[in-house]
């Protein structure tokens, strides 16, 4: 049997159409320039797109998407490319629609606490634009100085302050969307209560599979009158976990609550030398408390008492911005520090009910021993969002596969105790094979109904979120390997 050669697409006329919409300089097609776009923050998978297009307006996005729609070209939207689950990983012969030139803050309404931005606006810019007037934008991923709001919307990003204030979906009021057929739709709006289906909420976290948000209406909050950071160190990580449970149990909801284990502490001290985190501590707990001055003072005292009751050795607090920053510095540098103390690291992102913290940490230690890889634990303790950092050396053959397996076992553990596969990094290409551990067939099918109705041709970010082909052991790799299989068929 002679296998049919896959028809090669003639890209030239299509690239000309793109150029007619966005201008020649905003279409990237040269092989060496495309290198940058081969992966996002999940660097272990790479796929070169056929072309990159950089639109500036909603209308340009709509035109580009229409051209893709008419020519059956798969496309992937990309913000700043900092995502950690491969949500913006290109697929074979796709067009990457990059929002990097859509960087305008379109309007600021302080009185109604709304800011409208284009998707390429960097997370941190929103706060910078309104902080002078006493406001800020709450969701604060670690990458906030480089990640874009569009990407935050796609992945429903979280951050340190999401314990008290919620994740991205709680701060997005409305969206202008380009759907996969190129039509432009408005969902949600400036006021909180909108009738009809909550398509804004549906779209946030849909990882680019339902369309592209080209205008985003954000809610901004008033900056708290007083902010305090409390650092407590403990002999064991269990003690720090118990303190977290007791703080929440007492009715206090701090702005953020973070735990770092001994391995993370030492990695951070090796690299950024904060001098604040005792190297012999089993764990440190960082708590940010905000509110009225009297409220912060009262809560600070209560939290300190709870920490002491749970075995805290030392407690340091800081109210001034400079010292607060110093206390946070190590936490903010934790991922980077892991990169310094180990040739490579793999960040996992899972959620567990807070009450399972001690059990899960012990199990992770067992897995670490079983697989023979060190695991540093850094996590949003208040909402049970774990970030185990698996340290390994990618130059050792087979290491990545083993580390992925270990990461998968951690995720399965999270699901087993009633938690979730992802707290804030999304499923993307990386975790789709685990979706069946969390959802049964009909649950997943129901989500895919929604995908199909928005994206019937499957052109918008194919191969993400859902475990298709469902039989694959490692679905992420399938995105890459499809090409190989097709090439094999030719001969």
């Amino acid at each position: 049997m002679i296998l049919q050669e896959k028809q090669q697409r003639n890209w030239q006329p299509i690239l000309k159409q793109f150029a007619a919409v966005v201008g020649k300089n905003s279409v990237v097609q040269r092989r060496e320039e495309l290198l940058t776009y081969e992966c996002d923050g999940l660097t272990s998978y790479r796929q070169r797109p056929a072309a990159v297009v950089l639109p500036k307006t909603t209308e340009q996005v709509a035109e580009i998407v229409k051209i893709c729609h008419q020519n059956q070209i798969p496309w992937v939207a990309r913000g700043a490319g900092t995502g950690l689950s491969g949500g913006a990983l290109p697929v074979e012969d796709c067009v990457l629609i990059v929002t990097a030139l859509m960087k305008k803050i379109l309007s600021i309404d302080l009185e109604n606490q709304r800011v409208v931005v284009q998707p390429g606006v960097i997370n941190n810019w929103v706060t910078q634009a309104v902080s002078g007037a006493g406001f800020y934008y709450a969701p604060d991923p670690s990458s906030q100085i480089i990640c874009s709001i569009g990407g935050n919307v796609a992945e429903n990003s979280g951050g340190v302050h999401c314990l008290k204030y919620g994740v991205t979906t709680n701060h997005v009021m409305g969206l202008k969307l380009v759907l996969p057929d190129g039509s432009i739709v408005d969902v949600g709006g400036a006021v909180q209560e909108m009738p009809g289906y909550d398509l804004t909420g549906l779209f946030v976290g849909s990882e680019g599979t339902l369309g592209i948000a080209t205008e985003i209406t954000l809610r901004i909050l008033k900056t708290a009158e007083s902010i305090c950071v409390l650092l407590a160190d403990f002999t064991t990580i269990e003690e720090s976990g118990a303190a977290v449970s007791d703080i929440i149990g007492s009715g206090i909801i701090p702005a953020g609550m973070e735990i770092m284990d001994n391995l993370s502490i030492n990695a951070v001290e090796d690299v950024v030398a904060t001098g604040c985190y005792p190297r012999d501590a089993g764990a440190i707990l960082l708590v940010e408390i905000d509110g009225l001055e009297v409220e912060v003072a009262t809560n600070k005292q209560r939290i300190a008492e709870i920490c002491k009751k749970n075995g805290a050795r030392n407690i340091t607090t800081a109210n001034d911005p400079e010292t607060r920053l110093k206390l946070w510095k190590g936490r903010k540098a934790a991922f980077a520090a892991a990169g310094h103390v180990s040739p490579d690291y793999y960040v996992q992102d899972g959620v567990i009910p807070r009450t399972q913290l001690s059990f899960v940490l012990r199990e992770i230690e067992e897995l670490s021993k079983k697989y023979g890889y060190k695991i540093a634990n850094v996590f949003h303790a208040g909402d049970g969002n774990l970030h185990p950092l698996i340290l390994y050396d990618n130059s050792v053959p087979g290491a990545l596969e083993k580390v992925e397996e270990l990461g998968g076992d951690i995720l399965k553990l999270c699901v087993q105790v009633g938690g979730s596969l992802s707290g804030e990094h999304g499923i993307g290409a990386d975790k789709r094979c685990y979706m069946t551990d969390m959802f049964n067939g009909i649950d997943l099918e129901t989500m895919q109904w929604v995908r199909e109705v928005f994206n019937p041709q499957g052109l918008a970010n194919p191969g993400k979120i859902f475990p298709t082909p469902r039989t694959c052991g490692e679905a992420a790799r399938a995105v890459q390997s499809e090409k190989k299989f097709e090439q094999l068929e030719v001969f």
Copy 2:
């Protein structure tokens, strides 16, 4: 041309199938017993269902829905029937699936702050079940002692405390659903962060058009250490509105902030004689402040100062539960009081940006004069959710139509200033004809895509939310008149 007579359904075998699932006593079919189910809280429209079925379990609901699916029978889910937009209004020859017997609280997990309930559980019961342990369920519609959680989910109900704590969607973590084909699906879960599409958020507020929730996982909150109610009275309603703006502008988010105008004050004093609301005031402002004792004390003082600065004549505060209840009593009785001072009243529900409050209230006064009906204004001032009560006499021919027109003009006004058609009562049958004032064709069509994918045969709560037939002047009436048209065709 001889018009084909519409085939009459033979209900007997179907009713037998229902009885086989839920038992004979849980199938209501006698004409006089069906009377109760002809309408929900929107009493101006009535339609008798063909039958009422009262299941007790998810499996029974699924079986009932499957029978409807197989026999192409439209069905409408109904909770306690207190909804104000006709969301549970039957359609012709439909089956009403009533959740009144699904009243179990299935589990309480205080440590993780989750309660799982069946849909027929009354809103207030959730708080009663956990208040002894120091917790409560935040969304508190005025009807909270009689309305059910299932209905709250369908309509995304709000309440006085939703200013600070959000509406129902912010407190529903997960759902077990029966979809219109009878399949059972789980969406969301116990932890906040779930991967994949946010189908929980999509379902909340979908007014029974996507399926029936049979198990609902709710988030409960810790009861605040201290609660205070502040009552301020003003010469004009504009002053009270300005005070609200200044309170929010100062960064304080009270638990609730309510305004009542002179007409409402007098109606309430006529009926329940609180003795707290001065009859000569242009408006009163009720503010509930909660939090730590020190925080409440500080905020109380600040709010009192802001009220005085805006012209408040008297300020009363109450910290003890009994006096707090006394201050709230009139507000809670406002709708009932309107029923006493006027033969009939029509409650409207619209949302405006807070900054438009003064302008919109003046316009409503103009509309009141133009149409010749008194309008009492009672509203959730903090989030701009208006509840104008139009007082009229339904025995006057044509009055209801005029009142509906006036109500429609108020809604259009809300939309014109950047607000919304509904804050917390839903669209139901009552407001669907106004959806085109708020959404353009493609926006509405996108929502309907979602409806069709869940509900392809259109059997789940037909004729709600969406303005079909789109040409009708008053779409709500179309639900009723369809029967007449069909009957006319026979002859």
